[in-house]
Symmetry: C2
Subunit: 320 residues, 2 copies
């Protein structure tokens, strides 16, 4: 199914994911552009931080599908039906913070000592443009900025929400989440992993931050225990589906469509779903995970889940 | 004045900094050892995160003066005289979180694309022992862990304190703090900075996290506005003093005493206080900053500032 077909399918269900996303993406882009400048320029009159901010902006702005921010905002909308306990400003901050963590991970992942990649989203990678030390520092500063965004001294976001969002993001990003998954990835080059080991690696490397995005969005609303449990299962399913599809696209798409180097997993002898299960079984598995994610939403007791449904479809049926 | 003379001086004032520090250092070491293991092992049965945790522990444990944790704990003790609003568990978490940020910055700073140093605290640097990618990921995971430590779901730390500590640490570590200072440092190699530019660089690179340590400790107690203002000035003065003394020691001490490569600033054509002001004027400046820091404490209205005084003395009169 093509992306256009998915969007048509959503329209047929009375929900226009493209229109929904367009409005949210504009909010996120505006907020990112505002927050990856203002907070760092304060009180400085030396030239060098400007170079750091340039590298941070280059890494974050004008690129990427913004899947994680959209998941945050969709999960928030699904759980914000009650008038009490709704924090839209926190959701926008969470959406941007998750994207900053994702952006920093790409900057560091592309460095010569990791994947040594020169192309990302169709542009030169950060270390190519700003040097290795510049990329290292830009990534470090982006991670710190994510937590700064979540803890505004005055923006009407309650401290309980701030603290919970920080905790969720820190766990999703750290050694038991994204960074841990990258370490497994690094250690697994050239190794024969079985399907369980591959799943564990990807649950950490990609899944933790995608699931974390859903849970952060949920906690900006007023979810009950049933909804939280269902959203955790939804997030786990699409987190894994994202990586299965990534592995499929690495062999079926070309670099121009992907905006990054295609075929690099095989070149680097990295175990992937395609190498472990084969292409056809991987495609079936992605469909199963989509069904699981939608079933979780059915069981959530939440009314307004169209955007989450649409995003799950888009994850599995994307072309890049 | 030697370190022993400083300790004798403190004893003469009825306060034994060495004994005070010994108890707190044992608490911090125990907590770090506990927290840089347990929280990451949860639910994983794959081998590679163990390698990541090994690198993280190597970077953090059994080394360093732990100045930042001691500043957190001393500032907490100075502001915890009231029975209300005292959070010792938060202070211990803040002490460890600040040290994790400091440790990650050293790991990344030592990497080949930055200072390319092979010796740290008398041991091989992390990238020498665990490879460059291992060092990159260990640093990234340590930064995330710092924010995870500050946001325990259940440890009796109020959300208001958790959120404030995260915000202070994120700002101190990020592009308007430590990472920004490192970017200026990087850009200033081989350049002639004046004293104002040098001060700005060091206020960010080293000062922000030292001052942040003091403020985080203070917010674990119940400081009034006068105390907060005084502690901010104390933190700024010792933050700068630390770097002035660092620059002095780089030319006056040997590598064995420092536990790292001596003379490397001059080798790397980095501007330092000694290169800008000369050795004698730098030593005078360090003394002036000590006097400023103690005067700030005099004006704080706080009763129990002996540990903060002792630490200021120790910063300026240290031998390594």
């Amino acid at each position: 199914m093509s992306a256009a077909a998915v969007i048509d399918g959503q329209r047929a269900l009375g929900f226009d994911l493209e229109a929904w996303s367009r409005v949210r993406l504009a909010q996120v882009e505006h907020a990112l552009s505002q927050w990856v400048t203002a907070e760092v320029a304060q009180g400085l009159d030396h030239g060098a931080p400007a170079a750091l901010v340039d590298a941070m902006r280059y890494a974050v702005l004008d690129g990427g599908k913004r899947l994680r921010p959209l998941l945050v905002l969709a999960a928030h909308e699904a759980t914000s039906q009650s008038s009490a306990g709704d924090h839209p400003q926190a959701a926008l901050r969470a959406a941007c913070a998750v994207e900053l963590i994702h952006a920093y991970s790409l900057v560091h992942d592309d460095m010569p000592c990791m994947d040594n990649d020169v192309l990302r989203r169709g542009k030169a990678t950060v270390h190519i443009k700003f040097g290795e030390a510049g990329a290292l520092l830009a990534g470090d500063a982006l991670q710190a900025l994510a937590f700064e965004l979540l803890t505004p001294p005055d923006d009407g976001v309650p401290a309980t929400v701030q603290a919970r969002l920080c905790g969720l993001l820190a766990r999703a990003a750290g050694s038991a989440g994204m960074a841990g998954g990258q370490a497994i990835d690094l250690a697994s080059v050239g190794m024969a992993l079985n399907e369980r080991q591959l799943r564990e690696m990807h649950q950490l490397k990609t899944g933790a931050l995608l699931q974390g995005s859903v849970m952060m969005g949920a906690y900006c609303g007023a979810p009950d225990a049933r909804a939280l449990d269902a959203l955790a299962r939804y997030g786990a399913a699409i987190g894994l589906a994202f990586q299965v599809v990534d592995d499929i696209l690495d062999v079926t798409a070309d670099s121009a469509t992907l905006g990054k180097t295609a075929g690099k997993d095989a070149d680097h002898a990295k175990p992937t779903y395609v190498s472990v299960m084969g292409l056809s079984a991987s495609q079936d598995y992605a469909q199963q995970l989509l069904v699981q994610s939608l079933a979780a939403l059915d069981a959530s007791g939440l009314g307004c889940t169209q955007a989450l449904r649409g995003l799950a479809n888009a994850v599995v049926h994307r072309a890049s």
